[in-house]
């Protein structure tokens, strides 16, 4: 999801995006006192505060409090927080029978922009047009390329008629609504300049707005005086300070000098924090992130082709030590897994396919024998040189040696790794990767990461180069379904691939590890955006 996090994602060392709260006992947003000022600390600044450019989790956390969207996620904990509800739209949109036309009725009299301007359908069209402007080079283009005329601004497939916003797609895609809830598409003033460098403090129509931002120094968020909607808006102001180190943030949060360690705390101190404050007892929150870390098998290479390749893929799935690998991410780093979809994703069902507690060498060797791969075969292994990746590389090397594979490790800068493994024909057999949900739909995992339909010469996300006609069709079919049938179909694709033809060895779903000061109350954790700033209050 976030670019920074994506860059370090296999390291799992950084905090951030989140999903699925256990049916936590967090206090409801209504019990907190209203008013006051909260402080938050960041180590490094967010890249952008402009909704068209912001693709960083810490930024999305802020946008969740400031943005007014057509559809949004409720201010709740747990599973409920990932179910879309209408926000600026009067209800769910009317969808044409062929699934291509979406008609939103925009009724947002409960709010105005922080600069006083009213919210109409035109503000949402403005957002899409701005994202589509080539000059903006917004990363959002990946998420609305199926709107008719999306390569030009204004986008011809987006029309305003009275209070209605009518969007025409080139093909039916049931995950469109989930995508429209991304901060890229939140209401913006129609005159917001198309400045490719981003606007620092754009007016917004959500419960809060960004009143000031000094890059690399501070971000000031204030209550939107014109917001009268249902979303909580408790504290008057939230001040972000940028530039303190993790150690300093940890100390400051404990002393109450700051209220929220938005930049995270030092990896070595998770255990201490858990001991001091307990887990999910008010100050130290551990919540799963909608993400997966995995070892991808390059199916373009002879090693992983055909039935013998499948046997080798299974052997590796049995041989790796998921427990030791996860331990490198620090205390409470996440949860071990052997499947593609993270547990918080709709459609996930636990199939218990491979050993999670440690290697099963006996079974692994059995599959090795079936694969016919000779003892001492060299495996070219790509990974990054950052965070825990080099440590994990050594565990992989060690585990695979146990089943007779000689691993040749190549450590790259993360950016170089992404470029190399994304290029078709690059001579690697296995590579470490991670993926964070862009939005809450299994399409973003299954089709994006494993469909053979969109393999290119370079910049591939399907770094397993997995291209199985049977599964390609299953993925296509699933993407056209909606509701429970969709999730069930995706759940089946997940289990079937993982079981019968493993494209990867999935190893873990990361946790978000958050620390807040003792005076922070009303902590609510949204599955999609993480800690809910709008709901926070002072005890």
């Amino acid at each position: 999801m976030s670019r920074k996090l994506w860059l370090s994602t296999v390291t799992m060392s950084i905090v951030l995006l989140a999903v699925f709260a256990a049916s936590a006992v967090a206090k409801s947003a209504k019990t907190g006192a209203v008013g006051g000022t909260l402080n938050a600390d960041l180590t490094t600044d967010v890249d952008y505060t402009d909704p068209a450019l912001d693709y960083l989790q810490t930024g999305w956390e802020i946008e969740y409090a400031t943005c007014l969207k057509l559809m949004n996620y409720p201010d709740a904990n747990g599973a409920k927080s990932s179910q879309l509800v209408p926000e600026a739209a009067a209800g769910f949109p009317k969808v044409s029978t062929n699934g291509k036309v979406y008609d939103f009725n925009v009724k947002a009299s409960f709010t105005k922009f922080s600069n006083g301007a009213p919210v109409t359908a035109a503000n949402f069209k403005a957002a899409i047009d701005r994202d589509a402007d080539p000059k903006m080079q917004s990363p959002a283009v990946a998420f609305f390329s199926d709107i008719v005329g999306s390569d030009k601004s204004p986008v011809s497939g987006v029309k305003v008629s009275g209070s209605h916003l009518i969007i025409t797609l080139t093909q039916a895609s049931p995950d469109f609504l989930a995508r429209m809830a991304m901060p890229f598409f939140c209401a913006i003033p129609t005159d917001l300049p198309h400045d490719p460098n981003g606007v620092l403090a754009p007016a917004s129509a959500g419960p809060y707005y960004i009143s000031d931002r000094v890059p690399n120094k501070s971000i000031t968020i204030k209550k939107n005086p014109n917001y009268k909607g249902k979303r909580p808006h408790n504290v008057n102001q939230i001040n972000y300070t940028v530039g303190n180190s993790l150690d300093a943030i940890y100390l400051r949060t404990q002393q109450g000098a700051t209220d929220y360690a938005a930049g995270g705390i030092p990896p070595a101190s998770y255990a201490e924090a858990a001991q001091k404050y307990g887990i999910n007892k008010g100050q130290f929150w551990v919540k799963p992130i909608l993400s997966v870390s995995y070892l991808a098998f390059n199916h373009d290479r002879p090693l992983f082709k055909g039935a013998t390749g499948t046997a080798l893929a299974k052997a590796i799935n049995y041989a790796i030590d998921r427990k030791a690998l996860l331990a490198q991410g620090g205390y409470l780093a996440g949860k071990r897994t052997d499947q593609i979809l993270p547990p918080g994703m709709a459609g996930f069902r636990d199939a218990s396919l491979y050993p999670l507690k440690g290697p099963d060498l006996t079974t692994a060797k059995k599959w090795m024998a079936k694969s016919g791969v000779k003892d001492g075969t060299t495996v070219e292994f790509y990974t990054s040189n950052r965070g825990a990746a080099p440590l994990q590389a050594q565990i992989y090397q060690f585990n695979l040696k146990q089943i007779g594979l000689s691993v040749n490790t190549h450590l790259f800068a993360r950016a170089v790794q992404i470029d190399k493994e994304g290029t078709r024909g690059e001579p690697f057999d296995i590579t470490t990767e991670g993926w964070l949900a862009d939005y809450a739909d299994p399409y973003d995992f299954i089709n994006v990461l494993l469909s053979g339909d969109n393999l290119h010469a370079s910049n591939n996300n399907n770094v397993a180069y997995f291209n199985d006609p049977k599964y390609n069709k299953a993925m296509r079919d699933a993407s056209l379904l909606s509701g429970d049938a969709r999730y069930k179909a995706y759940g089946n694709v997940d289990v079937n691939i993982s079981k019968d033809n493993p494209a990867w060895a999935a190893r873990a779903n990361s946790n978000n590890r958050l620390l807040v000061s003792s005076r922070v109350g009303c902590f609510t954790y949204n599955n999609i955006y993480g800690p809910n700033l709008a709901a926070l209050c002072i005890k």
Binding site: D47, Q137, S138, V141, S145, N216, S245, A257, A413, A415
Partner: protein
């Protein structure tokens, strides 16, 4: 002239290093779901779709303080040198460098004051009383100072004085002028910098104690000192106008040079104590393949070193008229 050649060499090398690497900044700008369209747009905006010499030419044109020297339109005028915009967050590199520079400057110049405050008295006293207890302690300090790793000194200080005793803050930087929250103003600024200064100054203090001691001892043995003493000049006068004057002259110039060198050492101190200075900015920029920011720090650092060298030369010519500037 040589400064100019140096400058060109440094910037070209940076460009070539980044050109040689297989990472694509445009891909990074588009995030994990990068589409071909987005990458194309970003590459165009970042200029990475142009050949290397065009990119460098543009960079150079932006940086030069004079514009309007084209072959067709000759209208020279002055402008502010522009380092371009960061690949990562599209902020102007000028602002990034100007934000980070005061932190590094505080560290380096504060550190220099710190080490001179230690080195001057210790060096002079141990030269006056060779083989005394103070001299022996000073010599041990010198040996440990030049042998221990600065990072290690930093970690030990942070652990014992910062973490265990809690006397000084382990990390963080407070602005000298603009207070942000409870952190700001000269007192907080200095308080937060005590440990970094101490770490930073350790090695140099050791070197300077040794140098000052050697210089003072040498001066004490000179004929003119003996003559002055023989003539019955009071000891403090001999010290002031004969011994110290001659002994400290080379120290002044060396200080100028070492501050330039110390800029490089600031990277270690900044990374141990998490100070948002130039060193940390550069490391972060390199990790993110943010060429303009890296280049900006490199340009700035090179200019500082060139400038310091110049100042040292001038200063020396001023103190010692025998030196002729050519």
């Amino acid at each position: 002239m040589w400064a100019f050649v140096l400058f060109i060499a440094v910037t070209i090398v940076t460009y070539v290093i980044f050109y040689a690497i297989p990472a694509n900044p445009a891909r990074l700008a588009c995030g994990q779901r990068a589409t071909a369209e987005c990458i194309k747009r970003a590459a165009h905006y970042l200029g990475t779709d142009r050949p290397l010499y065009v990119q460098y030419g543009k960079f150079f044109g932006r940086l030069m303080p004079v514009a309007g020297l084209g072959p067709n339109n000759f209208s020279p005028h002055f402008k502010t040198p522009n380092l371009g915009r960061s690949f990562t967050n599209r902020l102007t590199v000028n602002s990034v460098v100007l934000n980070a520079a005061p932190v590094t400057a505080s560290l380096v110049f504060g550190g220099a004051v710190f080490w001179m405050l230690i080195a001057l008295p210790v060096g002079i006293l141990s030269a006056l009383r060779p083989r005394s207890l103070l001299d022996r302690i000073a010599m041990v300090f010198v040996l440990v100072g030049i042998s221990a790793h600065p990072v290690w000194i930093g970690l030990l200080l942070a652990y014992f004085l910062g973490f265990k005793a809690g006397v000084f803050p382990i990390t963080g930087y407070c602005d000298f002028i603009n207070p942000s929250g409870n952190c700001g103003g000269p007192v907080q600024w200095a308080y937060h910098l005590v440990l970094p200064w101490a770490t930073f100054a350790f090695l140099f203090a050791a070197l300077y104690v040794r140098m000052i001691r050697a210089n003072v001892m040498e001066a004490l043995g000179e004929d003119y000192v003996r003559t002055a003493r023989a003539k019955g000049a009071p000891e403090w006068l001999v010290m002031r106008s004969h011994v110290l004057r001659n002994a400290l002259l080379p120290v002044v110039t060396m200080l100028g040079m070492d501050i330039g060198i110390a800029l490089g050492g600031a990277i270690f101190t900044e990374s141990v104590f998490g100070l948002p200075g130039l060193g940390k900015t550069a490391i972060q920029a390199i990790e993110n393949f943010d060429l303009p920011t890296t280049q900006g720090v490199v340009v700035f650092a090179t200019l500082c070193i060139i400038l310091l060298t110049l100042v040292v030369d001038l200063l020396y010519a001023w103190i010692d008229p025998r030196i002729r500037l050519t």
